[in-house]
Subunit: 198 residues, 2 copies
DNA sequence: CGACGGAATCTAGCAACGCTAGGAAACGTA
DNA sequence: TACGTTTCCTAGCGTTGCTAGATTCCGTCG
């Protein structure tokens, strides 16, 4: 049986959990993930460190995972929105998708790191891959099947396009790409995807 | 002036430095970079920890950098070799390049991480970028300019292709791509690069 | 209302990390 | 053989993630 008090406690616990995730994400975006330590998080939420392990038994990795999951959900929304508009040429629609992805990565670098760089407790490419990840991938695949001459294997093509965009993000953020050339790289990528015919 | 004794010492110092780098790389490939600690390296070379800081004043990061540099030199060789054969169709030559890159990443995962994932003390996309990095990039760019219908902006196209391949490596190693689909992804990437016409 | 019992929370500490100051030892030179 | 420099080690600082055990709080029930 659930007494009112227990319900209230459960709510408080959930709220505190959210607060931890929010603080972790904000701190990561402001000062990088190496600044996100259990001690600092504990200070921020004004509890002792063991409390954090009550919420996240797997420790720091599980907190990073929570931020990553939030990011995947946001990214799925962003990509779906970018591909929902049916209008425009092939190139315009692909560009909208790519740009949306790049913008997301640029606006939330630390969150993006949690999603794609840091070790995290999410089952990928598996049967129980979370819905948000499937949705994001589906948006990419959908954009490709909607092309005038769709690729022969859309699922694989989606993986490649995803890889290409992720690669640009990774190299760009690591400072490996020529500066002030972002536009041209997008042009080139769009050209590759849309100009390829069998 | 350099006495014979000093020359011998210099040689010994250089050898020990190489030994540190070799042990770090081997340990990283066997157990991952998180297992590469100063204490363990010191144990392995049978010296105390401060000795390592004599060789690498910037600490652990500088050791990772040394491994990364070795990797960049090897990668440049591999890519040059893959693009040197003039024979074959466009698709075959691009495939050779891509495959060489993917193979290198698969065979030296930890080294690849040092080169592209971990924080490192190398000036990228700058005037004093090391020669090995330029050479690797030049190999990619060269393969593209050698196409039947070269891309309008080869340097940018090389960045994009490099990003695409790196993205595939990154996603693949993070377990984000469907298993047993590697061949098809390469097919698709080659298709994109070679089938694109202005 | 008051005492019990379980849950929630904190204090304190472990082992490991990167890194460094300061003293000891080894070695080349005179 | 004695000096002085270079090389090296011992010991320790501050930090990390994480946890065992004591303590405090709080809802429930007599």
């Amino acid at each position: 049986m659930t007494t009112p008090a227990a319900a209230r406690r459960a709510r408080q616990v959930a709220e505190r959990r959210e607060r931890i995730v929010a603080v972790a994400r904000a701190l990561a975006e402001e000062q990088g993930w190496e600044a996100v330590t259990i001690r600092r998080l504990a200070d921020a939420i004004e509890y002792s460190q063991p409390v954090l392990y009550g919420h996240f038994p797997q420790g720091r990795t599980e907190i990073v995972t929570a931020v990553a999951m939030a990011g995947f959900e946001e990214l799925a929304v962003v990509l779906s929105a970018a591909t929902s508009g049916e209008a425009g040429t092939d190139a315009e629609r692909v560009r909208a998708l790519v740009t949306a992805y790049l913008d997301f990565a640029a606006q939330h670098p630390a969150t993006y790191d949690a999603m794609f760089l840091l070790p995290v407790l999410i089952p990928f490419a598996s049967d129980d891959t979370p819905e948000a990840l499937r949705a994001g991938f589906a948006a990419i695949e959908g954009a490709l099947t909607g092309l005038e001459s769709p690729p022969p294997d859309p699922a694989t093509a989606a993986e490649v396009l995803w890889g290409a965009v992720h690669g640009l993000v990774a190299l760009h953020r690591a400072g490996r790409l020529s500066a002030g050339n972002d536009e041209r790289r997008v042009d080139e990528l769009v050209r590759l995807v849309t100009a390829a015919v069998d």
